[in-house]
Structures are given as C-alpha cells and as structure tokens.
C-alpha cells in the first residue's frame, strides 16, 4: 500500500482495537443489526430443494437482511467506526451494487456524504442498484479503466482515498485490501455463522454436516465459515465462479487457477500472467468478478480446511431458476453459485443436513437474466 495511506490504516486499526469490545459500540451495533437490518435472518428448511438435491438443505436467509444481502453487516460496523474517527465522507467500490447500496444506506442513515465507484460494465448490468444508490443520496462514479468491473472500481476507490485520506473513510466491501480490512470485514460478517450455529443447534440439537457459500472475494463465505473452523465434523465448501469454464480463461476462480501475488494490498491467490499483470476476471455474477480472493481463503485452501470448487455461469443460471421455482426464492446470481453446487454431484449423503448461505436476493439480476434467456429463444 502507498505510504500516503499507511497512517490512515494505522488510524483505522487503532480505532477498531479501541472500539470492537467497547460496550457502547457493541450495543449500538447490536441495536442497528436488530432494529434496522432485521437480524437475526431466518434459517429456512428448504423442503422441495432438499428433495431435488438428495440431502436436507437449510438456507441462511441473508437475502432478507435490509438492502437484500449480507453486505449490510459490514457497512453498519464500518460506519460506526467512521463516525467515531470523525470522518465526514464515505467512499466505496461495488461490483454487483449490493455493497454500494449497503454503503449508501448507512451513509444516509448517518448523514454522511457518499461516493461509490462502479465499473461501467457493472453499471450496465446492475441498473437497478445504481438507481437505488442514487435514490439513497450517493453519487455513483463510473469507472472505465481496465475491464470496467470490480477490480477497477477498487483501484479508483483507493486512488480517491489516497487523495482525500484526511476527510474520508473507505468502506471496503469484502475481506480483501490491506490490513486491517480483511480481519475487520470478517469480524463484522461472522454474525452470519454465529447466528446459523445457534439457530441450527436449537432446531436440530447438533451441528450441520456441511456449509456451502459462494466465494468471489469471499466475505459471506468467511462470515459463514468462521465460527465452524474448529468443528472438524462440519464440511465447508466454497464455490467460485467458473464463468465460461476454468479452461476458457474467462472465469473468476482465483483459488482454482490463481498464483501467489499482490492485489490491493493483500498477498493471496491472484489471476495474473507470468509478468504479474493482473488478469480480468469473468462471471455472470458481477459480485464474483474479482481476480483475487481474501487472503484468509488462501490460507484455508492451503491448510485444507475448506474445499474450494467452482460452478459455471450456465450452472448458476440454472440454479437461479430452479430455486425460484422450487422455493419461491429468487437468489442473487452470486448465491445461485452455492445452490448450483448442491444441484450437481455434491457428495453429501441423503441423511446429512447442509446449510447454504443465501447471501443475497436476485431482484437486481432479473433484467440481465431475462436478457440471457431472451437471447436463447
């Protein structure tokens, strides 16, 4: 990370250490999670899906959290830190627009100025979320450099932060970026797993046999897995975007096909060429379109604790429709990747019980899915 930002990162680290166990901070966050974001989100036994895939499946309904995805968990935590650090302006990057919406939402709640960087390609395919952000009073700044997706939006957000670091807090949306971000974002997302654990224990009197979550940069997956890492009986599966296929060169599977490198201040698996030039990722799901992954996922892969696999655009699209028809739940295309894993050869026995992190709802995707399906007629 550029020297210009190091003091801000140190300031953030200090603020986080100071407040994370501070009773007033913890209580303010708890009230917002409950009364504002609608937590705890339900754990729903999906009977028809269970029948279809051949094992019992619960859905952790992050799609029912305020703004329609798990992203609000992190932005609520970070905005409270920003306010305590006296920052007047918030910036964020966004891919699918869910993090942008969640950031614009909390900025509105606290009356702070908000600028969201979004790739031009993503603006095109996530029109609805762009409108939502503007409605919430945020300014959406189009990014045309590179592939016009999440990586490039992140570059621009970092450049903005370098220039305005004294007045601005950068709410990064996933478990990436320089320290302390990967830890801080993970901590704010572990509520997904801790709720799941409690809800599941109450319902079933034991731990689940497996957890499945999609992995782009990986915040919902880390949030889901973290409280189960020491429970060896719980199989953990992270599902990356195979895009048009792992051998097509058009995918977002950094863990499957990346090599060690540095992007946005983290050392992790990165999609790059022999010279270390970062390659463009591809996925039908804008939120999985990132050529790297949170460093903790890289660690969990190397340690063998989490199985990482991938599903294609095609399989995700199928799962998107299948879940809609079977359960009356339209999932985000990102979350559809986790569902798609269960529709294929998942390796869970019939009597095992699995929890899928349904990280977001699919309203934002209906137009682009309609376009794809329309073209096939």
């Amino acid at each position: 990370m550029p020297e210009t930002l190091v003091s801000a990162l140190e300031e953030l680290d200090k603020a986080y250490e100071q407040y994370k166990d501070d009773p007033a901070f913890v209580e303010e966050l708890r009230v917002l999670q409950t009364d504002y974001a609608g937590r705890p989100t339900p754990l729903f036994l999906a009977n028809r899906l269970s029948e279809r895939v051949g094992c019992r499946v619960y859905l952790k309904r992050e799609d029912l959290a305020h703004t329609g995805a798990h992203k609000i968990n992190n932005t609520l935590g970070q905005i409270l830190l920003a306010v305590r650090m006296g920052k007047k302006r918030i910036i964020a990057e966004t891919g699918a627009g869910q993090h942008g919406v969640a950031t614009a939402t909390v900025a509105a709640l606290f009356g702070l100025e908000c600028h969201v960087y979004m790739g031009e390609e993503d603006i095109r395919r996530q029109e609805l979320n762009v409108f939502r952000m503007r409605l919430l009073g945020a300014e959406v700044l189009p990014v045309s450099s590179g592939s016009g997706t999440l990586k490039d939006a992140t570059n621009e957000a970092i450049r903005d932060w370098v220039a305005n670091v004294e007045s601005t807090h950068y709410i990064i949306g996933s478990v990436v970026g320089p320290a302390p971000y990967p830890t801080l974002v993970r901590d704010f997302q572990t509520i997904i797993g801790s709720e799941t654990r409690e809800q599941f224990l109450t319902r079933e009197g034991k731990l689940p046999d497996g957890l499945v979550a999609c992995v782009g940069a990986g915040s919902n997956a880390i949030g889901m897995f973290h409280d189960f890492l020491n429970d060896d009986s719980v199989r953990l599966v992270g599902v990356e975007a195979a895009g048009l296929g792992l051998d097509s060169g058009k995918h977002g599977a950094s863990l499957a096909r990346g090599t060690g490198g540095i992007l946005h201040g983290s050392y992790s698996y990165v999609l790059q060429d022999a010279d270390g030039q970062i390659q463009e990722a591809h996925s039908i799901a804008a939120g999985l379109d990132y050529p790297s992954v949170g460093p903790e996922h890289s660690h969990l892969k190397d340690a063998g604790r989490v199985e990482y696999t991938s599903v294609t655009d095609e399989e995700a699209l199928e799962a998107f429709q299948e879940l809609s028809r079977l359960e009356g739940i339209i999932p985000a295309l990102e979350s559809a990747h986790a569902v798609a894993y269960l529709l294929a050869d998942h390796g869970f026995s019939e009597d095992s019980t699995v929890v899928v992190c349904l990280s977001g709802r699919g309203d934002k995707d209906v137009y682009s899915v309609a376009d794809v399906l329309e073209m096939r007629r």
């Binding site: 020297e3 210009t4 190091v6 003091s7 590179g146 570059n155 060690g260 992007l263 270390g276």
Partner: protein, 282 residues
Amino acid sequence: MSAGKRTGYSPGAFGSQGGASGLTALFREAGRPLLMPYAVGGYPDSKGCLQIVRTYLQNGADLIELGIPFSDPLADGPVIQGASQVALRAGIRPTDVLDVASAASSEGARLVLLSYLNTILAYGSERFFKRCAEGGVLGVVVPDVPVEEAAELQATARAQAVDVILLAAPTSTEERLARIAKAASGFIYCVSTTGVTGARSSLRADLPEFIARLRRHTDLPLAVGFGVSKVEQAEEVARYADGVIIGSALVDMVARGKDFKAGLAAAAGYLHEVSNTPSFSR
C-alpha cells in the same frame, strides 16, 4: 548488455560499505538540485521510449525515472495509467523495460526504475535486482511498499548495490518519518501531495514544511514528485528539495503532440526551460 556498461561511477563503490550509495553521491556531487524526468518504460514502444530518454538527456535531465507498466497502477493518475496501457497493449514486458534501461545507461543516462511490487515478485526479486545492476540501474522506487514491508526487498537489492527508494508522504506521522529516514538509502522520494500522480495547478501549501520535517530526520537527498508540472512549480520546489521529479506533465506532452516528433519537441522545450532556471543551472 553487460555489467561493464555502467557509466560515470560504480555504485558498488559506495552503497554496500555503509557510506553513501551511488545515488546519494550523484546528488552530492551535483551541488544543486537534480532534474528528474519520468517516462513510462516501453511507451509508446521500446524504440520510442529510448528516444524519449535521449531527449531528456539532451535537455538537462540529471537522473531519469523509468516506470515499468503495470496493469493496476494504484499510485498513478489517468495520464500514466493511459500510457501504461498503451505500452502493455504494444506487448511491452518488464524485461523490455530493463533492456531499454540498459541501452539508455550505456548512452550515459543515470537511471532509477519505478516498479510495483507484484512485478518484482513475479520476475523474482533476486533476478530482478541483478538485472537492474547489470543494466546500470541505480535504484528502484516501489510505490506500494511502505517502510515496514521493505526490509527484505532492500536486502536483496543491496546485495546488488541497488537502492530501494522509500517514499514519504505529507500524511506520514513524525514516527513514520523517523522510521523511513532510518531505513532509507539512495534518496527519499517525497510525495508532494495526498493523491495519485498527475499535474496539479497548485502544490500543497504545507509542502516546504513537510520537507523540513523530514529533513530533521536525515541527511539523505530528498526528491519531490507527484503533481509537479509548471516550470514555476519545479523552480519553487527546487529551492528546498534536492531533486524534482516531473512525470505526468512530460508523459502528457509526449502523448498530446500531433505526432510523436512534435510530442518529443514539446517535452524537450519544456525540460530545456526548466533546466535553465536559476535553481537547476547554478
């Protein structure tokens, strides 16, 4: 390209013995601030880049900074990003930029490179600094490596008598400035502004104070870059800094010429003017 092509003096004679490095000596011997123009390595292609470097040399450049194009240059503004993309699309690889550096060095240019860390890691840091040394490159600016992460890179570079140039920013705390000053070698790259590279209509009002703060911690030469574009700005910065780095303004001049020749002429005229101001010609 051979190790014997190094010109002027041998960096090895200084750096590794705890004294001043070759770069530091270059500043000391000049007795005036150094004029340090920047070019994107391999822009618009290898041949064109070498012509740009020659133009810089003929018009008063003391030390030339050559950037290795990177896909995601976080510290750079639109002008250098754009030129980097042109070079990358032309198929320029880090090894090509090292070749340009060697050629320029054999023609008498004193050079530092600018490279993002991922490029060096992918190349292999030992191999990278070895090639730098063989090509007469005196130092490497790594804009995304702060002082606490620099030690290993510095040790690898030092073994080849190449300096890793550390950066200091106006936002660096007093404690950090002391730490940077202690770890630095060659010179310190002082970022004139919060923000990315690119021309600014005015520089930060507290820039002289920032340089003075850092000066209290070190005798190393302090070069100022990021945002210096106008002749008067260069002249002004030269009153309190040991070197003035001019990047985006020059890259932009070359890019905007109605053809390459016209762009080169514009850059030549500008550098000539800067180098003849009292600060640089004394």
